[in-house]
Symmetry: C2
Amino acid sequence: MAHIELKEALDTLKDTGVRITPQRHAILEYLINSMSHPTADDIYKALEGKFPNMSVATVYNNLRVFREVGLVKELTYGDASSRFDFVTTHHYHVICEQCGKIVDFHYPGLDEVEHLASHVTGFKISHHRMEIYGTCPDCASKEAH
Amino acid sequence: MAHIELKEALDTLKDTGVRITPQRHAILEYLINSMSHPTADDIYKALEGKFPNMSVATVYNNLRVFREVGLVKELTYGDASSRFDFVTTHHYHVICEQCGKIVDFHYPGLDEVEHLASHVTGFKISHHRMEIYGTCPDCASKEAH
DNA sequence: TACACTATTTATAAAGATTATAAAATAAGA
DNA sequence: TCTTATTTTATAATCTTTATAAATAGTGTA
C-alpha cells in the first residue's frame, strides 16, 4: 500500500504540472516509507548515499512544493527544525517530551471546537492543529529503573 | 488588573529567587499589556527606547527564565520565530492565516482527548496544544471588497 | 551606608535552519 | 531528437537563537 500511495502521489504531481525528478521520487518514497516524522536534514542524510551530489536546498525546495500541492504537512514543534509528514488520513500526534518520539493518534476531527471558535471570534475557520505531549512507555520505564 | 498581574508576576519571581531587574520588569510589563503575542524581536524593538543598550540576548534569556518559572508560554507556529504569551487562564488561540492576528479563545481543556491518547498509545500524557486557523473578519471583508 | 558575593547584562561571536541567487543540468513535450 | 522551461546544484546570505566572557548591578549583611 505504500506502493499505491507513492503512485498516487506521483500522479498528483503530474496532474499539477510538477516535474517528477529522481530526487523528488526519492524524497516522496522516503517520506511514505518512513514511520518517523523526519526533518529536512534527516531526509538529506538518508538520501546522501543515493544522491551524493544532492543539495540541502533541493530537499527544502521540494518539501515546499509537496506542501503546496498538499502531499505533505509541515509540523513545527518547539525544537529547532520543522518535521514533515506525508498526508494520509486525518490524525493527531502524541509526542514524547523525553526522547522526541512521535506516535500517530487517530481521533475524529474536533469540529465542535471549530464551530464554537467561529461563533465566538467571527473567524472563518479553515482547520486546526493539535498535539499531545507526554512520556512514552520506554522513557517511563527508564525513569522508574 | 494588568497592574495586579504585574505585581503577582513580580512576587512569583521573588519567591523563586529570581532577581528583579529593570529589564525584566519592562519585559513582563510589555508582555502583560500587549494584547498581541510578540516575538522576542518585537519586545526588543519595543524596549529599545527605554533601554538603548539592552542586548537581544537579554530578551531571550529572560523569556526563558519566565518560561521556566511558568509565567510565560512559548508558542511555535509555522513562521520563523517563536511568540510569547503571558500565562493567565487556560485558553487556545485562533490565528488568521492572512494577517497573522492571534485571538484568544476560551474553551474547556480537552481532557477526553488526553485520556484516549493515553489509553491508545501508553504514553503518560502531560498536556496538549491546539491552534485554530482561519480568516479574521477584517481580512474576510477585504477579500470580498 | 558600604561591602562582598553572585546573578545578570552586555557585546560579540557562533551555531543552526532556511532561503536566495545564478549557473549548469535535465525532464517532458513537439 | 531537439527545445525550452523547470529543476538542481553550489554557494552565500539571512534570520533566529544560543554560547561565552567580561563588565555591571541586585541583594543580603555588617
